[in-house]
């Protein structure tokens, strides 16, 4: 089983007209390939980098031929595969407070289980860790590896949005100042990588990786936009998650590009045929927050059973590394400078949005013709959930938009209460139906 298995069962493996593989199978294969490769990295003499989805300089790491591990993906998989409770219990026995992020605890549990991951892969210890400042917990998490494995930690500080209406035109003095700082750190990182790997940095290789990323970004932006159609061809909080797994793990590679092309063609085809994710799409909703990986399918089922679909979510932006948010592509003639510039923009336009998300949500409501917003608060994640209630209040009052607030956790099943969540979801759909009926009645008057 792989991270792909949290996706839909609805589309069974289909061969395309010319006999080529479908995206789902291709994606599954790529994930398995990646994990297998990770498990044998040290044997092959490859170095392993632990990185996070929001801000990771993966392009530079690829230039040094690092094998990438994503502890966030390890942790979410432990949720999907039901080993999270065991890992979390081990971490709490070790001394971690119940209030600490459950991803961190699942990772500590993995460490305390001899790095044996439920996927069957023995996770390698890191030779380098990159923790961006876009989530402060990343930094505390990396300190744990520093402590346990003696891992060199590189904190990549990416200055984010300073306030809600912060606008940074590319090339403006403010953008230049922030990008200069990021570039300085990237140069520092390159020196570090040379030390660790013994290799010399190859600027051309960086440019090559960036070319692949550019193509993946172009396709990803289209894929996100496809869901503006009615009916939405995929559910951003179920299918979207499987796309993201490949997007992150294979970012900047020809295989990643190939996958995205396949995916793009499939979804374009669905749009052309008017095939929706849900047979009878009744309500389109924006999802704000993270998935509940331990009950991902169930959560979506609760909505889809009422004909509700999620064409968009802010999760797809930030957990895909903000690939859609800069609207700019790498200038491969100045690969390093451009990497810094685009990384800064991605942070400011996409990845630091949770703190000011009322703007983006309003935009998404319009773009995706949405009927409401579902806020999913996470008990152990302050990045996502601290001001959700305030955000919701603002959006509901300003836009008169129906919103639902539900709460659980990323992977800790103790915070999932099926009856309570179902109750709230059912009540929300009753609310939406009533609203639609009333609007209909008013229309007839």
């Amino acid at each position: 089983m792989s991270v792909m298995d949290i996706g839909s069962n609805r589309s069974t493996t289909r061969q395309q007209k010319d006999g080529a593989m479908d995206a789902r199978t291709a994606g599954q294969r790529l994930i398995n390939q990646w994990l297998a490769s990770l498990g044998t990295a040290h044997e092959r003499g490859q170095h392993v980098a632990y990185i996070f989805v929001m801000g990771n300089a993966i392009e530079i790491l690829r230039a040094f031929d690092f094998e990438m591990a994503f502890p966030e993906i390890n942790s979410l998989q432990s949720g999907v595969r039901k080993s999270a409770p065991d890992f979390i219990a081990k971490a709490e026995d070790f001394g971690f407070s119940p209030d600490v992020c459950s991803y961190v605890k699942a990772d500590v549990g993995l460490m305390l289980s001899n790095m044996m991951h439920p996927s069957g892969i023995q996770m390698p210890e890191p030779d380098l860790a990159i923790a961006s400042s876009l989530c402060n917990v990343y930094i505390k998490w990396a300190e744990i590896w520093e402590r346990r494995f003696g891992t060199p930690v590189f904190v990549l500080d990416i200055p984010g949005k300073r306030f809600a209406t912060w606008k940074v035109p590319p090339g403006s003095p403010q953008h230049k100042a922030d990008a200069r700082w990021v570039e300085g750190q990237l140069r520092d990182l390159i020196a570090r990588c040379e030390q660790i790997t013994g290799k010399t940095f190859d600027l051309d290789r960086l440019a090559e990786v960036e070319t692949y990323v550019n193509e993946m970004v172009r396709l990803w932006i289209d894929i996100l936009a496809f869901n503006q159609h009615r009916p939405a061809p995929y559910n951003s909080m179920l299918d979207g998650l499987t796309y993201m797994g490949v997007l992150n793990a294979w970012r900047g590679t020809p295989e990643g590009v190939e996958y995205m092309r396949l995916l793009h063609a499939e979804i374009a085809d669905k749009v052309a045929r008017g095939e929706g994710r849900v047979a009878n799409e009744r309500f389109r909703l924006i999802f704000s927050g993270t998935p509940c990986y331990v009950n991902m399918r169930r959560l979506i089922e609760l909505f889809e059973s009422h004909g509700g679909v999620f064409p968009a979510s802010d999760y797809l932006t930030y957990a895909a590394g903000g690939l859609d948010s800069a609207g700019l592509f790498y200038d491969t003639s100045r690969p390093l400078e451009s990497l810094a510039e685009v990384t800064t923009l991605a942070a400011q336009m996409g990845l630091s949005n949770h703190f000011f998300s009322h703007h983006t949500l309003a935009q998404q409501l319009r773009d995706y013709s949405a009927d409401g917003i579902v806020y999913h608060g996470i008990k152990s994640c302050r990045t996502v959930a601290t001001s959700m209630a305030d955000n919701r209040e603002y959006v509901t009052t300003r836009h008169g938009m129906p919103t639902l607030y539900i709460e659980s956790d990323l992977i800790d099943p103790r915070y999932w209460s099926d009856a309570q969540i179902k109750n709230r979801v059912d009540a929300f759909f009753e609310l939406l139906e009533q609203r639609r009926n009333l609007a209909g009645m008013k229309g007839r008057e």
């Binding site: 209630a389 209040e393 509901t396 009052t397 129906p402 919103t403 607030y405 709460e407 209460s417 009856a419 309570q420 109750n423 709230r424 059912d426 009540a427 009753e430 609310l431 009533q434 609203r435 009333l438």
Partner: protein, 273 residues
């Protein structure tokens, strides 16, 4: 004459009401919950039928609500208690635009529109503080029945501030205050105040819009009524029918079904109470 039934299967009690096709309340029944929600639903249904002197086949449509709504085998439709409380409150107090329901285990605040449709809702169902359970801790610590807590609290002149937010530690804190010599009524008032502020917070989350109707078992506690009015700064509607509001709302939804999609604008007839 056609009849409809509303069955509310909650965590502590099961309630049933029967209305006639004009919305007049014919009978009502309430029982304490058994372990089997399906059985409890059937038992309360039998009681309410007996009370109305009607056979089961006389009921044209039954709507089930409450946490156990899917276990009601004879239910024709399930509607959440959020929607049902909204309808029930509006039927009893037509000026209602906000409902605060404090139950034994959960608390809900609901904002409703002119036709009783739910505009927004907020629930406290994870934590017992701010629900009737908090008073349960007081009842235990003071060795007094729940029904006496309100009247005693109202005698307080200097309420003690309760800081614990956990029902489990509430008992310890109460005993601590009593040991220091604080009067039981002052400690009790502090507890009530604690619940009131938490509930007020929920109401503000959905947006306080007059009139506010207070329902649920705890609404029969006079001290809570007084305090909530003070904390919210607005008078509250409350009635002796508080516990049946969900079942009545469910029955009104049932009435919709037999009136071919027209929303029923019935309010409960005086004589039937």
């Amino acid at each position: 004459m056609e009849y409809v039934a509303g069955i509310d299967v909650g965590s502590t009690q099961a309630k049933g009401v029967i209305l006639d096709e004009q919305g007049a309340l014919i009978s009502k029944a309430i029982i304490d919950m058994e372990t089997n929600m399906g059985t409890a639903a059937e038992v309360v249904f039998q009681h309410v039928l007996a009370s109305a002197n009607l056979p089961a086949r006389a009921i044209a449509f039954t709507v089930a609500t409450g946490y156990g709504r899917y276990r009601v085998t004879f239910g024709d439709r399930q509607v959440t208690e959020i929607s049902c409380h909204a309808r029930g409150a509006l039927a009893e107090f037509p000026g209602t635009r906000t409902v605060l329901d404090i139950g034994g285990q959960d608390t809900k605040a609901i904002r409703i529109g002119d036709s009783g449709e739910v505009i927004d809702f907020a629930m406290n169902d994870k934590c017992a503080a701010g629900t009737g359970r908090f008073l349960g801790a007081a009842s235990f610590a003071l060795e007094m029945p729940l029904s006496e807590l309100g009247p005693l609290a109202l005698q307080s002149t200097r309420p003690v501030r309760i800081t614990t937010t956990c029902t489990v530690f509430a008992e310890t804190e109460i005993i601590g205050h009593l040991a220091k010599g604080h009067l039981p009524e002052d400690v009790l008032m502090g507890m009530h105040y604690s619940i009131a502020t938490r509930c007020a917070s929920l109401v503000r989350r959905v947006g306080l819009t007059p009139e506010v109707t207070f329902s649920g078992g705890v609404s029969r506690n006079q001290a809570m009524v007084v305090l909530l009015q003070e904390v919210l700064g607005t008078p509250l509607n409350h009635s002796a029918q508080a516990q049946f509001m969900g079942a009545i709302g469910a029955a009104l939804y049932a009435l919709d079904n037999i009136h071919l999609g027209r929303r029923s604008e019935h309010s409960l007839k005086e004589g039937a109470r």
